[in-house]
């Protein structure tokens, strides 16, 4: 911890949209290298706004974001975007190239990787998500779960410092959900997972943050947070019917 800088450090982050609507009111947290952290929060808590700050798409508010020691700002934008891999909610938005292979190659190619090294990166990333056989297919012909996995691969190909997933389990059937969980668990990168799928957070992330009304309202072990009924109710977070966080053994 003392030698390597934290993967992600957010301090005092506040932001208002041009129309005056303020979404973040001073967000502080740190994610250490190799950690898997869930960012929980009800709709409208400012989760997506926060995510867009992590790679500098939104800037101009107060506070700082630091990725592996590098402050997010105009000066290092290309490097920051390589280091922070964001997987957006709708894979169709993320997969904009005509074939899976080209899509996965887009990030590294934009960073100047060419030739055989590019090919190797693409293959490695697709293998990590188990989609190497689909390289030459157009994304539109894949199932939703497959598209989500390819979306993860597009980001992995950039060899990011931290992987940020926006609602990774949304619209997935149980099998795809489990497959994605297996893939994420096997990865050797820092993960920040933005979600309101609480069982999924518990399954994958030892630690959770609760973002509510634009600030971090709680930070602790996922199991403990989910078992605190008063806390959960206060922030409009609800467990599925019959789900008992204490009865689950974590796979982390």
């Amino acid at each position: 911890m003392t030698t390597a800088p934290a993967s992600l450090e957010v301090s005092g982050l506040a932001f208002a949209y041009p129309d005056g609507h303020q979404a973040l009111f001073g967000v502080d947290f740190t994610v250490a290298r190799g950690e898997r952290v869930a960012l929980l929060g009800p709709n409208g808590a400012g989760k997506t706004t926060l995510v867009l700050h992590l790679n500098g798409i939104l800037t101009g508010g107060a506070g700082t974001v630091t990725v592996a020691g590098l402050p997010v700002g105009k000066r290092h934008m290309a490097e920051i975007r390589r280091r922070v891999g964001i997987v957006f909610q709708d894979p169709d938005d993320q997969l904009f190239m005509p074939t899976v292979r080209e899509d996965v190659a887009f990030g590294p190619a934009a960073a100047g990787v060419r030739g055989t090294e590019l090919e190797a990166r693409v293959r490695a990333a697709l293998e990590k998500v188990g989609m190497e056989d689909f390289a030459d297919r157009p994304p539109h012909h894949l199932s939703f779960g497959q598209r989500r996995r390819v979306a993860v691969a597009t980001v992995l190909a950039m060899e990011p410092e931290i992987l940020v997933l926006d609602e990774p389990s949304s619209n997935l059937d149980p099998a795809s959900r489990r497959e994605l969980a297996d893939i994420l668990r096997a990865l050797d990168v820092t993960v920040l997972m933005v979600t309101h799928d609480l069982p999924y957070a518990l399954e994958l992330c030892p630690r959770s943050l609760i973002l509510s009304d634009g600030v971090i309202a709680a930070d602790g072990p996922t199991g403990a947070l989910l078992s605190d009924e008063a806390l959960m109710r206060a922030h409009r977070l609800e467990l599925p019917f019959g789900f008992d966080p204490q009865s689950v053994t974590m796979g982390a």
């Binding site: 798409i57 975007r81 904009f96 005509p98 950039m158």
Partner: protein, 253 residues
Amino acid sequence: MGAGHAHRLYRHGHSPVHALPPHTKLAAAFAFVVVVVSTPREAMWAFGVYAGLLGFVAHHARVPAGFLLKRLLIEVPFVAFAVLMPFVAEGERVDVLGLSLSVNGLWGAWNVLAKGTLGVAASVLLASTTELRELLLGLQRLKLPPLLVQIASFMIRYGDVITDEMRRMRIARESRGFEARGVRHWGVLAKSAGALFIRSYERGERVHLAMVSRGYAGSMPVIDEVTASRAQWSHALALPLAALVVCLLGWTL
């Protein structure tokens, strides 16, 4: 015009024509059509030779005649126009089967029919032997402005997504008992079109975010480049060159 756009023309295959680099095929098809259009209409035999040349290519590409003929239907509106032409054109007239027809009009109809049909056939052959992705690479290689190729590529990528959204909106309308039957339902359909535009535009904004997140700064990185050897070029250009010889003969004979 017409609603036939949903059908993809591409036929998967491994023929020598399929294997040619896309930009050579694009150049060849284009040059061929230019030659055809420049041929004097009086040289009727030349058009027969052109058709023969295309037939030869189609045979090599293993594109069945039935497939090719069916795709030619797209020019039906203009065939109708061509059929009218002998009746409405001016000039000297001849009697054919009791009908008085304009000689010039007959020539005009023949001209449009022959050249139009050959043009459509050449395009169909190109489209049926070249994958979408390849066509885009070919256009890029032929130095079409990169921005234009990018727009085309996004259009191809999201054409299906948006058509799908449109279909879902129709299903949603019909599930609630709405069926468009006439002009007074245009308001509802136009609202759907408006909603579709908003969705498309917003998706464009999200796609842009996703691109920026992966390092996009205004120009697409070059991932694939197509190259063609001299032999491939000469294979592809054999078609327009043969056509050119025919065309020159047509002018001189």
